[in-house]
């Protein structure tokens, strides 16, 4: 089962650091998180950066990227630092 990790304000909004998901694609992960935590996480999810095993889904198949059981999905909201 893939592991989903949430960071920064997304972690704050969901109150969850990580969980084991039954999703088979990135789109399903995003839907799953939204269903689980309601509309308050929607703005973060709509703008978030998704990495699968450290790679941006832009280099994979976007939200259609399929997940394998040992995959790690990282969700980062928009953020800056310096």
């Amino acid at each position: 089962m893939p592991t989903v990790k949430m960071f920064a304000t997304l972690r704050k909004a969901t109150g969850e650091k990580s969980y084991v998901s039954s999703a088979r694609s990135v789109a399903e992960v995003l839907r799953e998180v939204e269903e689980k935590h309601g509309e308050r996480v929607s703005p973060y999810l709509r703008n978030c950066i998704v990495l699968v095993n450290g790679r941006h889904i832009g280099y994979l198949r976007g939200k259609r990227t399929r997940l394998r059981p040992d995959d790690e999905v990282s969700l980062f909201p928009p953020l800056a630092g310096g």
Partner: protein, 688 residues
């Protein structure tokens, strides 16, 4: 009527203990805005480059901008400038906190301090007058104590203090100037300039109403900015976790330096030192600078243990990295203690951490041994040694006297130039050009040396700020094509923010676009700037500062970035980190009208100015995307071809930058370019 400024600055000569008021013409404000732009103009007009950094002739220029101290969000800042003792060239340093509004309300736009006092003094500036007072009783006190004592002494808790600590008094080359305990003019050793002048502090207390040119437009601008920041996801991230929120994502994309920039990826680092970890453990509350709705500063407390610290300012991202990951140190408590010591002693955390990391690598490679360090063994992840070295540096005790010279000074004495990570003598901030190629150009071409605040490349490469409003499309974070144009656009925005003066975090959180800046500036000043005119102002300031750098001796050879941070890492997971970063433009606002208005403006601006006129180039560029076969490949035995492919194409980027900026073979701006911006007197001196 000109708003936002008073039209005069205070000049203080510490040698003769005299002061006078200098009137500045309105045209100068219009042409150079304020902040570091106006400071550079004053420095040039008074031939500041002729004085050595540590000599009475070097002017210390404390300058507000037109926005400083008004009620707009993020305008707590001012600029402190002088010839830098660390780099020998133009030095400037931006400071937040609460000093800028108090200074503005005294009726002066800035203070220029020349000369040097025989005894320690401090300067008291109010709207009722100016005094030079004895500070012998404060000499030796740290910055936290000094601030409290001075507020008591002047009998006004609303008075604001900027001061130096023991590091400034001992002229540590990267000593800083502090306000509000955690706000610093950190870079370029401005604290050492104060220390040389024996100026312990400046205290300001003013009560005057700041003139605003167009009150109704100003009110509208303030409301619009407040609304944008209220809904900004980036502001939300800053508010929740501080600037150190970047640590986790930064590590994922390879932007956070580890072990003196040797190692690519250290998974445990963010878990121990990141902003989220701090929020879950030692965070007590948020703290904000004047008039800031974001409040990114952290107040922390380490209640017990060897690194106990009383409630006070915690590490921001640069401190968490420079005094944490750069030392490969995994103690959050020690990191915050180290940050507190740097604050108290008055030392720049970036330069201090970088110098200690350099010394550690020099020790590990045998260039330095225990005979130099006084028996101290330097190694990675040694919190106690780190704290000891910080103390020794501030007081220039033993080996601390060497560390106080900075990375360049140490590498010239002991060797190790290949891992001395600085540009023009200024230690590189904690953003890795191998992750964000734009940072290589940022470091190389920033006037003061390696600096991440001189432009917005960091945020552009991260996908938060677009330059569609300046007709420049984004380039891939790890490709050379388009980086020079991006950097020029980005420098314009950086210069405007450092001259206006407004916090880069507030502006980036609001999208970093010019329309908002024009709205704020025009409402306050009444100058009625157009986009093109404001860009011209930014260029005028950039070329003036570049020329000052040249007059201080900087040439093209100084625009070099160390190979260490251009070539793939020596240790760790060296490949595929760049595949964590994709040129995705992230919306700063979550939903609703605001978001779509901004998106519409950004897209239409970019299409009309960048995409359509360059359609052929855009298509050609798309063909250059990284080939599929690169995915997941690892650097095996540092295969030379692979290393070359993955090395930042710095030469290509900087040659294009020189061409766009009109820089000649000696690194000087061309006469034509200078004259076209009304800088004929600069051209005459520079080109003879």
């Amino acid at each position: 009527m000109m708003g936002g400024n008073w039209g005069k600055i205070l000049k203080v000569d510490l040698t003769s203990r005299s002061f006078e008021v200098e009137e500045i013409p309105e045209k100068t404000y219009r042409d150079f805005l304020g902040g570091s732009g106006l400071a550079a103009k004053w420095f040039f007009d008074h031939r500041g480059w002729e004085a050595d950094p540590l000599s009475p002739g070097n002017p210390l220029i404390i300058m507000n901008g037109p926005l400083s101290g008004t009620g707009l969000p993020g305008v707590s800042r001012l600029e402190i400038c002088a010839r830098s003792p660390l780099t020998g060239i133009w030095g400037e340093s931006s400071m937040g906190g609460h000093f800028a509004p108090q200074l503005k309300r005294t009726g002066y736009d800035g203070i220029v301090v020349t000369g040097a006092s025989e005894k320690p003094v401090y300067l008291l500036v109010t709207d009722g007058g100016v005094e030079i007072r004895d500070a012998s009783h404060l000499w030796g006190k740290d910055t936290y104590e000094t601030e409290e004592l001075l507020k008591d002494e002047v009998g006004d808790k609303r008075a604001q203090v900027i001061c130096i600590g023991p590091a400034g008094e001992n002229m540590v080359k990267y000593a800083n100037i502090m306000n509000d305990r955690g706000s610093t003019a950190g870079r370029c050793g401005m604290g050492a300039v104060m220390g040389y002048k024996r100026l312990k502090a400046v205290v300001a207390r003013g009560k005057r109403e700041i003139p605003i040119a167009d009150e109704s437009a100003y009110k509208a601008a303030r409301e619009k900015m407040a609304e944008i920041l209220k809904f900004s996801l980036v502001a939300d991230a800053f508010r929740s976790f501080g600037s150190n929120v970047h640590m986790e994502y930064g590590m994922a994309i390879g932007d956070v330096p580890v072990k003196n920039w040797r190692e690519a990826y250290w998974a445990e680092g963010p878990e121990k030192l990141g902003g989220t970890a701090v929020a879950e453990s030692i965070l007590k509350r948020n703290h904000s600078c004047y008039a800031c709705p974001i409040s990114c500063k952290r107040i922390v407390e380490v209640a017990s243990g060897p690194y106990a610290m009383e409630e006070g300012p915690g590490s921001e991202y640069e401190a968490a990295a420079a005094l944490g990951t750069l030392q490969r140190m995994d103690s959050m408590e020690a990191n915050h203690k180290a940050n507190e010591l740097c604050n108290r002693y008055g030392m720049d955390v970036i330069s201090c951490g970088s110098t200690i990391a350099f010394a550690t690598e020099a020790f590990q490679s045998g260039l330095i041994d225990e005979s130099h360090t006084g028996g101290i063994r330097l190694d990675w992840n040694q919190p106690d040694v780190l704290l000891q070295l910080i103390r020794m540096t501030a007081y220039r005790e033993g080996f601390g006297d060497e560390l106080a010279e900075g990375v360049r000074g140490m590498s010239e004495k002991f060797g190790g130039k290949e891992f001395a990570i600085h540009v023009k003598g200024l230690e590189c901030p904690m953003h890795d050009p191998r992750a964000l190629w734009g940072m290589a150009l940022t470091y190389a071409t920033s006037i003061r040396g390696a600096c991440h605040c001189a432009d917005s490349n960091l945020y552009t490469d991260l996908g938060l700020v677009s330059h569609g409003d300046l007709g420049v499309g984004r380039s891939w974070p790890f490709r050379a094509r388009g980086k020079a144009a991006q950097t020029v656009a980005s420098q314009r925005k950086g210069i405007i923010s450092n001259s206006a003066v407004i916090c880069i975090y507030a502006w980036v959180s609001a999208g970093g676009a010019l329309p908002e800046m024009l709205m704020m500036l025009n409402s306050v000043t009444g100058f009625g700037y157009t986009r093109d005119e404001l860009c011209q102002v930014a260029d005028r300031i950039w070329y003036l500062k570049r020329a000052i750098g040249n007059l201080c001796g900087a040439t093209r050879e100084d625009d070099q970035v160390p190979r260490r941070i251009l070539e793939p890492h020596l240790e760790g997971a060296t490949s595929s980190l760049h595949l964590a970063l994709y040129p995705q433009f992230m919306s700063i606002a979550p939903m609703g009208k605001l978001r779509f208005e901004r998106l519409k403006t950004a897209v239409s601006g970019m299409m009309s100015r960048a995409v359509y006129p360059n359609l052929n180039r855009t298509l050609a560029f798309l063909n250059k995307l990284p080939p599929f076969s690169l995915r997941g490949r690892r650097l095996v035995d540092r295969d030379p071809l692979e290393v070359r492919r993955r090395t930042v194409a710095f030469e290509e980027m900087i040659e294009e930058f020189y061409r766009l900026r009109g820089i000649d073979e000696r690194g000087r701006p061309s006469r034509e370019r200078l004259e076209s911006l009304g800088l004929k007197e600069v051209a005459d001196i520079l080109h003879g």
